[in-house]
């Protein structure tokens, strides 16, 4: 009895297995045109997104262009111990975190404020034109924005210094002064991103049930009270999610802008992981060391992003994926 039972089961298992394969073959045959369409995409991801991961191996080698990736000697964690033992490490870590943190804290409230102000406008056309202007900077390239900054802060005839002089103050070369690097960088980030980031909050505001405002008005709430008691609580979930996600990507500094604005005089506060990687790797051809620094940064960034997403999910939010 028992024996025939297991044979039946095994036969059944085989049948399931076989029918799975024939089913799969049928589905592949049915979808073959779709799969052909998908091939370029898969090739792209394999070569340009997964391919570079193999290049990370050079972080554990003494890679040189002449010996190539297959013949360069393995050196284990040499480059990592060099990084952790050097003064560079502390400086880069501190600069990356400080710049990311202050940028996050200082620029976070502005899009929310802008969305709140825009939401109170009753003339649709006015609202629309202000909004259109406000996200113009998001369309400008980092080179253009950086050249504006360099231009405005020029000690010779930059508009900021002309203003200072005409107010009876002394002109100042901001871009070579380390204490001014962060304020300049962060201000320009606020200018660039406020309008763009406000879009998401405006959408959140638009999703608030209008009857809540009416109820508030019936209860005698003025404009301020209804902003405070209806609008703000209404967009709070979005605000929290955005904050967590931005914290997760905090150390992904806009290094292109840093690269354009820093100089040897301000390296001590401006140099971040990515700019260091660029200088060591591509300008000094020190590929292995640069790849090691880049790998370390990528790991820190990934941990922070996963952590932020985890927290966001725990709070009942949707997370990033």
């Amino acid at each position: 009895m028992a024996g025939s039972n297991t044979t039946a089961l095994r036969k059944g298992g085989m049948r399931v297995f076989r029918s799975y394969w024939s089913d799969l073959r049928k589905r592949i045959k049915r979808d073959r045109q779709l799969l052909i369409l998908l091939i370029p995409c898969l090739v792209f991801y394999l070569i340009f997104r997964y391919g570079p991961l193999s290049g990370l191996a050079i972080a554990f080698m003494d890679y040189s262009v002449f010996t190539g990736i297959f013949d360069s000697p393995w050196v284990g964690l040499k480059h990592f111990s060099k990084l952790f033992g050097s003064d560079d490490f502390f400086l880069l870590f501190r600069n990356t975190l400080t710049l990311g943190f202050f940028n996050l804290i200082a620029s976070f409230p502005f899009p929310i404020l802008l969305a709140l102000l825009l939401n109170e406008v009753r003339v649709a056309r006015f609202k629309k034109s202000i909004q259109t202007f406000s996200y113009l900077p998001a369309f400008l390239s980092v080179v253009i924005i950086s050249s504006m900054i360099i231009d405005f802060l020029s000690p010779t005839n930059g508009i900021v210094n002309r203003l200072l002089v005409s107010l009876g103050l002394e002109s100042h070369y901001f871009l070579v002064d380390p204490s001014w690097f962060r304020p300049v960088y962060i201000t320009s980030e606020i200018w660039t991103n406020t309008g763009y980031d406000a879009i998401i909050y405006l959408a959140a505001v638009a999703g608030i049930n209008p009857t809540l405002y009416e109820a508030a008005r019936v209860d005698g709430a003025g404009r301020f009270r209804s902003i405070w008691n209806v609008t703000l609580p209404g967009i709070l979930p979005t605000v929290i999610i955005m904050f967590i996600l931005k914290t997760g990507s905090m150390i992904r500094i806009g290094y292109e802008k840093v690269l354009l604005l820093y100089n040897p005089m301000t390296y001590e506060v401006a140099d971040v992981f990515s700019t260091f990687v660029y200088r060591k790797g591509l300008l000094e051809s020190n590929y292995s060391y640069a790849a090691a620094v880049g790998l370390f940064e990528a790991l820190v960034a990934m941990v922070m992003l996963l952590g932020a997403n985890y927290i966001s999910k725990r709070l009942g939010g949707s997370g990033l994926w």
């Binding site: 592949i28 799969l35 290049g55 006015f126 050249s147 660029y278």
Partner: protein, 287 residues
């Protein structure tokens, strides 16, 4: 009702603050344009505040005389047009099969794609791949490594998923191939979504500076943004970085180049803004 009065105290303060925001946003751009249209003397004496002094177009004539900037401009136009075309094509042919809910191994493909949003091997490994493929100093170095942006792919896939599947089924019964359905039916029907992601790709190519800087060595291939950077920073890593860069380049010429680089963007973005906002919002609801 009181709340509906057109000009409340609150409304006026609010409007003033918003006008302030608009001025803060627009002033730097207008100032750059004003300097580009002013004569050298007024600029060097610092007399330009908002309107051009000694209005003239010499800086533009100067910029266009030398073939360096017109060539860079043409390079940028070519890279942007070609790059955006490749992006849209690649994204569309990938999004279409993935939008089909019972595609074989769909979950695996999606995982493979979405996972890359969290893997960021960094500048050096990416550079080495491009180098090993022999793409340095070719337009492909600017096009292939970012041929698909995962985020835009997900946006388009979501859009396709929400399209009616009846058209596709009917076309399949009529014997149309998936290629024909995609190119003759789906893509023409998804113009708003294509415009939205196309805008992001367009902006990405037009404003791109880091990739052309590291992947192109031949100056004749430089796009506008890289040339513009060259006008800002003369000698990276040398002491020249410490002298006042702005004073070295003729100010008006530099600003004329900036204005030329901004013009297409300024033309495109007001028209594109409805797609733009839609793209941001579509991106926030995940597929």
């Amino acid at each position: 009702m009181v709340g509906q009065a057109r000009f409340t105290f609150f409304g006026v303060i609010n409007a003033i603050m918003l006008v302030g925001v608009a001025i803060a946003t627009l002033y730097p751009v207008l100032y750059i344009a004003a300097v580009s249209l002013s004569d050298t003397a007024s600029v060097s004496q610092g007399q330009v505040w908002l309107l051009p002094k000694g209005l003239n177009f010499e800086a533009y004539a100067e910029v266009l005389k030398d073939d360096k900037i017109p060539r860079a401009y043409l390079n940028t136009i070519f890279y942007t047009a070609f790059g955006t075309f490749v992006n849209l094509l690649m994204t569309a042919i990938a999004a279409y099969p993935l939008a089909n809910r019972d595609l074989v191994f769909r979950k695996f493909w999606m995982l493979m794609i979405v996972l890359t949003m969290f893997l960021n091997p960094g500048i050096i490994p990416n550079y080495l791949i491009v180098q090993q493929l022999g793409l340095i100093d070719s337009v492909w170095a600017l096009v292939l490594p970012n041929a698909i942006w995962t985020f835009e792919l997900i946006i388009l896939k979501t859009f396709y998923e929400n399209m009616s599947s009846q058209i596709r089924e009917a076309a399949l019964i009529d014997g149309a191939s998936e290629f024909r359905i995609l190119f003759n039916i789906v893509i023409p029907l998804s113009k708003p979504a294509m415009a939205s992601i196309g805008l992001f790709y367009f902006m990405g190519h037009w404003n791109s500076f880091f990739l052309p800087m590291i992947y192109l060595n031949d100056q004749a291939l430089y796009p506008l943004q890289v040339v513009l950077r060259g006008m800002l920073i003369f000698n990276e890593g040398s002491t020249a970085g410490l002298v006042d860069k702005a004073a070295l380049a003729p100010q008006a010429m530099k600003n004329a180049t900036i204005v030329l680089a901004m013009i297409p963007v300024l033309i495109v973005y007001p028209f594109a803004q409805k797609y733009f906002a839609k793209g941001v919002m579509l991106g926030s609801e995940k597929g």
